[in-house]
C-alpha cells in the first residue's frame, strides 16, 4: 500500500504505512525519536482516535478516505510565525482540489476545508518548540474521499461532491505535491493573500457568536492578523478573535 510518489522532492519519499493505528500524528511523533527523515509520511487505513482538535473526533470509514501525517523539521519557521504551517496545509489541500479535481473549496478559519458549507478535510498540526526554535512539525490531514454516508451532518467527501470514485494513491500523490509546493514558497507574501482569499465568509455579512461575551453579532471577515487571529468587521470596529473565541453561526 502507498508507494512512493514520483513528483515530490522530499515529502513522501519515505512512507510509513499502518493498516490501523491510534492516530497518525501520534505515530509520527514517535518516529521523530527514531530518526525518521524530513518529509516522511505516516498513513493508515483506519485511525481509532480520529484525532480532531481536543475532544472532537474525525469520523472515517476504514479504507475509504485518506488519513495521514507529514513529518517536517522546519529549520526556518520560528514559533512566532508558525501560522505559516496552517496556511501551507490549507492552501496545499485547496490548490490540489482546485487544480486536479476542479473543486473550489473554501477554508473555514483557521483550518477546516469545506465545500458548500460541509467539511471535506480536517487538519491537525502538532509542533515541538525548544527555546525559540520550532524543532519539528507534524501536519495531520484527514480528507474524505470515497465515503458516501456520514453519521454527522455537515460532512462531505470527494465522491459526494463529484459523483466519482477515486484511487487513494493518486489523490495522496497530488496532495503531497501541492503541499510541498506551498511549503517551498511559504515566505512569499502571496501566500498570506491567497489564504485570505480562500476564507469562507470573506467580505460577506454573516452571523457570528462572540464566545467570550456570549453575544451574537453580524460581521464581515476581512482577513487574519500576523498571529493568525481572524479579523471580523462589525458596525463599530474591527474585532480580532482567537480560535474558540468565535463561532460561525452560518455553518450550524
Amino acid at each position: 500500500m502507498y508507494n512512493i510518489p514520483a513528483n515530490t522532492v522530499f515529502i513522501g519519499k519515505k512512507v510509513h504505512y499502518l493498516p490501523s493505528c491510534h492516530s497518525t500524528n501520534d505515530v509520527a511523533h514517535r518516529l521523530i525519536h527514531e530518526g525518521y527523515p524530513n518529509g516522511c509520511v505516516v498513513i493508515t487505513d483506519e485511525q481509532y482516535a480520529g484525532k480532531g482538535q481536543k475532544g472532537n473526533s474525525w469520523e472515517t470509514e476504514p479504507g475509504q478516505n485518506l488519513t495521514f501525517s507529514i513529518l517536517l523539521y522546519p529549520d526556518n519557521i520560528t514559533p512566532s510565525d508558525q501560522f505559516a504551517l496552517t496556511r501551507i496545509v490549507s492552501l496545499g489541500i485547496t490548490d490540489f482540489l482546485e487544480n486536479f479535481l476542479q473543486i473550489r473549496a473554501e477554508i473555514k478559519w483557521p483550518n477546516d476545508i469545506i465545500y458548500k458549507g460541509k467539511k471535506l478535510a480536517g487538519i491537525l498540526i502538532n509542533t515541538s518548540i525548544s527555546g525559540n526554535r520550532l524543532t519539528d512539525a507534524i501536519l495531520g490531514i484527514g480528507l474524505n474521499v470515497n465515503q458516501t454516508t456520514f453519521a454527522l451532518l455537515g460532512a462531505t467527501s470527494l465522491t459526494l461532491v463529484t459523483g466519482k470514485m477515486y484511487n487513494l494513491q493518486v489523490i495522496l500523490d497530488g496532495l503531497l505535491e501541492s503541499i510541498e509546493r506551498r511549503y517551498s514558497q511559504y515566505k512569499s507574501r502571496k501566500q498570506e493573500v491567497d489564504y485570505i482569499q480562500r476564507l469562507y465568509g470573506l467580505n460577506l455579512e454573516l452571523p457570528y457568536r462572540d464566545e467570550k461575551l456570549g453575544l451574537d453579532f453580524t460581521g464581515i471577515i476581512r482577513g487574519v492578523d500576523e498571529t493568525g487571529r481572524i479579523k471580523i468587521e462589525t458596525e463599530n470596529e474591527m474585532c480580532r478573535f482567537s480560535f474558540k473565541e468565535v463561532r460561525f453561526l452560518s455553518l450550524e
Binding site: 481536543k54 508558525q82 502538532n126 482567537s242
Partner: protein, 157 residues
C-alpha cells in the same frame, strides 16, 4: 536584591547631587526621582517583573523577581522560570485523557516537554530549557497566556 540594599542605594542617591536615577538589572527595575520643590524622601519603585515584557500581570503573585521585597532568606531568587514562547492557551497535558507532563515536586528535564500551548488550533509541545524540580505552576490549566509570560517556577539546584 535585598530590601536593605535598596534602602542603602536610595540613601546614597539622596545624598548625591542627582535628581533622577534609573537602574535596570535582570532582577529589578529601580527608578528614583528627587522632587526639588518638596525636598521630601525620594520615591522608589520596584517592579515585580523584568522589563522585557509588558506582560499582563501574571496570574499568580509570586513571579521570581518579586523576591525584592521579601525577606532575604527567601530562596525564590534562585528559581528560574519557564516562559511561554507565544500567545495561546496553556494545557498541562497532551490531551484531556492523559496525565499532566509535570507536577509540583516532580522533576523537569531539559529538552523534555512540560506543556502544550495551543495557538489558533496549532498544538505546540513546549520543551523545558532547564532541568530541576518543579516548584510552582503559575498558570491554570486551559487558560490564556501571553508571549513571555512565566508558566513554571523551577528549582534548578
Amino acid at each position: 536584591m535585598k530590601s536593605k540594599e535598596i534602602r542603602d542605594l536610595i540613601d546614597f542617591i539622596s545624598q548625591s547631587g542627582l535628581n533622577e536615577v534609573n537602574i535596570e538589572t535582570e532582577e529589578i527595575k529601580l527608578s528614583v526621582k528627587r522632587d526639588p520643590e518638596v525636598t521630601a524622601a525620594p520615591v522608589a519603585q520596584v517592579q515585580a517583573q523584568p522589563v522585557a515584557a509588558p506582560a499582563p500581570a501574571p496570574a499568580t503573585e509570586d513571579a521570581p523577581a518579586a523576591a525584592a521585597d521579601k525577606p532575604a532568606d527567601s530562596a525564590e531568587g534562585n528559581y528560574v522560570t519557564i516562559k511561554s514562547p507565544m500567545i495561546g492557551t496553556f494545557y498541562r497535558s497532551p490531551n484531556p485523557e492523559s496525565d499532566p507532563y509535570a507536577s509540583v515536586g516532580g522533576t523537569i528535564e531539559k529538552g523534555k516537554p512540560v506543556c502544550i500551548i495551543e495557538a489558533m488550533k496549532l498544538f505546540n509541545e513546549i520543551e523545558a530549557d532547564v532541568s530541576g524540580t518543579l516548584v510552582k505552576i503559575l498558570v491554570d490549566d486551559a487558560s490564556p497566556v501571553e508571549y513571555d509570560q512565566p508558566l513554571f517556577l523551577v528549582d534548578p539546584s
